[in-house]
C-alpha cells in the first residue's frame, strides 16, 4: 500500500536505479531495521545479523537496474534473501559445532536448562534456536514479524498449506521446549 506521501518499495527502488540517492535512503531506512530484527531473531548473533542485512541490501542495490515489475515486492524479495542467507549461516554454524564440540555426556543438562538466569526473551530465542530451520523461519515470520501466510509462502518458496503446517509444528515444539522455563516466562500455565 502506498500513496503520494509514502511511495511503494518498488517506486523507491526505481528512483534509486535512476540515480536518486534519496530513493536509496528512504528504502534503506524502511527495509533494513526489519531485516536486522529478522536476522537477529533467526541467528541470535548481532555481528552475523549485520552481515546478513548488509549482504541482502547489497544484492538489492545490484538488482535495482534490472528490477522487473509485477513480481515480488522488494521488501518480500529482501526478506527471502535474508532468510536464505541466515539459513546458510546456521547450517555452517551447525556443521562447525558438530565438528568442534564433543558429544555431551549422558545426563548433561539441556541448553535451555543451563540458562537458569536468562530472561523471557532469551528463553524464547534459545527455544527458537532449537527448532528446525524451516519451522523457526515460519514461526518467526508469522508470529514475531507479523507477516501473512501468503507472503511467508512467497518468502520461503513454499505453499500456504506448508507454511501453516510448519508454523503449527514449530509452535508445538516451542511449547515443549519452553515448558521447563515457565517461571522465566512468567506464565504459570
Amino acid at each position: 500500500m502506498s500513496d503520494a506521501a509514502s511511495p511503494s518499495d518498488e517506486a523507491l527502488l526505481r528512483r534509486y536505479a535512476a540515480g536518486d540517492p534519496e530513493g536509496a535512503r528512504l528504502l534503506l531506512d524502511r527495509l533494513s531495521p526489519r531485516l536486522y530484527r529478522l536476522a537477529l531473531r533467526l541467528l541470535a548473533d548481532r555481528a552475523e545479523a549485520e552481515d546478513v542485512v548488509q549482504e541482502t541490501m547489497l544484492r538489492l542495490w545490484q538488482m535495482a537496474p534490472d528490477w522487473q515489475s509485477g513480481g515480488a515486492q522488494p521488501g518480500t524479495w529482501a526478506h527471502r534473501v535474508a532468510v536464505n542467507l541466515a539459513t546458510d549461516r546456521l547450517r555452517r554454524r551447525r556443521s562447525i559445532a558438530l565438528d568442534a564440540v564433543a558429544e555431551p555426556a549422558d545426563g548433561a543438562p539441556a541448553p535451555l536448562q543451563v540458562m537458569l538466569d536468562a530472561d523471557r526473551e532469551t528463553a524464547l530465542d534459545m527455544a527458537l534456536a532449537e527448532l528446525p530451520d524451516r519451522q523457526r523461519q515460519a514461526v518467526v515470520l508469522r508470529h514475531l514479524e507479523g507477516l501473512a501466510n501468503p507472503e511467508i509462502a512467497e518468502i520461503m518458496g513454499v505453499g500456504v498449506e506448508a507454511v501453516e503446517s510448519l508454523t503449527a509444528r514449530g509452535k508445538r515444539r516451542l511449547a515443549q521446549l519452553l515448558a521447563p522455563r515457565r517461571a522465566d516466562l512468567g506464565y504459570e500455565t
Binding site: D20, R25, Y36, L40, V53, W61, P65, R120, R172, L174
Partner: protein, 137 residues
C-alpha cells in the same frame, strides 16, 4: 503436580501465544549507526549514474536542406504545389472542339444552309451574286 512433571508438560497454546505476542510487541533493537553508514555507503557506491535526457544529434544534410526550404511548413507548401501541378498535368481536359461547338452551336442553329438562303431569297435574287459576296469578292 510435581515440578518435574509440570516441566514435561508443554505450554498451553494460550500461554505460548502470549509469549510470542509479548516478544513481537517488544521494541526491536535499533539499527546500529555504523551498520546504517555501511549500508548507505554500499548503496551510493552501487547507484547507477543519474539518467539525463539524450543529447540531440547534430543535424544531417537532409535536416539542413529541409531547414533551408522553410522547415515543415515550407515542405507542406511545396508538396501541395507539386500535387497540384501533377494533377494539372495528368487530368484529361475537355477537347477544344467541344468548347468551340458550345460557343458556335447557337450560330449554327441560326445559320441556315446556303440552300435555305437561296430558297428564301427574294425573287430575282441571283445565286451567283450571293456566292460572290460570301467569297468576299
Amino acid at each position: 503436580m510435581s515440578e518435574q512433571k509440570k516441566d514435561r508438560q508443554p505450554l498451553t497454546e494460550e500461554a505460548l501465544d502470549r509469549v510470542l505476542s509479548h516478544a513481537a510487541a517488544a521494541p526491536a533493537d535499533p539499527l546500529p549507526n555504523a551498520l546504517r553508514s555501511r549500508l548507505l555507503a554500499d548503496a551510493l557506491a552501487q547507484m547507477p549514474a543519474p539518467t539525463r535526457p539524450a543529447p540531440r544529434p547534430a543535424p544531417g544534410r537532409l535536416s539542413r536542406l529541409l531547414a533551408q526550404l522553410g522547415g515543415a511548413s515550407g515542405m507542406a507548401g511545396l508538396t501541395a504545389a507539386g500535387l497540384a501541378g501533377f494533377w494539372i498535368g495528368t487530368a484529361t481536359p475537355d477537347p477544344a472542339g467541344g468548347l468551340s461547338g458550345a460557343l458556335w452551336q447557337g450560330a449554327a442553329l441560326v445559320s441556315p444552309s446556303l440552300a435555305e438562303w437561296t430558297a428564301d431569297a427574294p425573287e430575282g435574287f441571283e445565286d451567283d451574286l450571293l456566292l460572290a459576296l460570301l467569297a468576299g469578292d
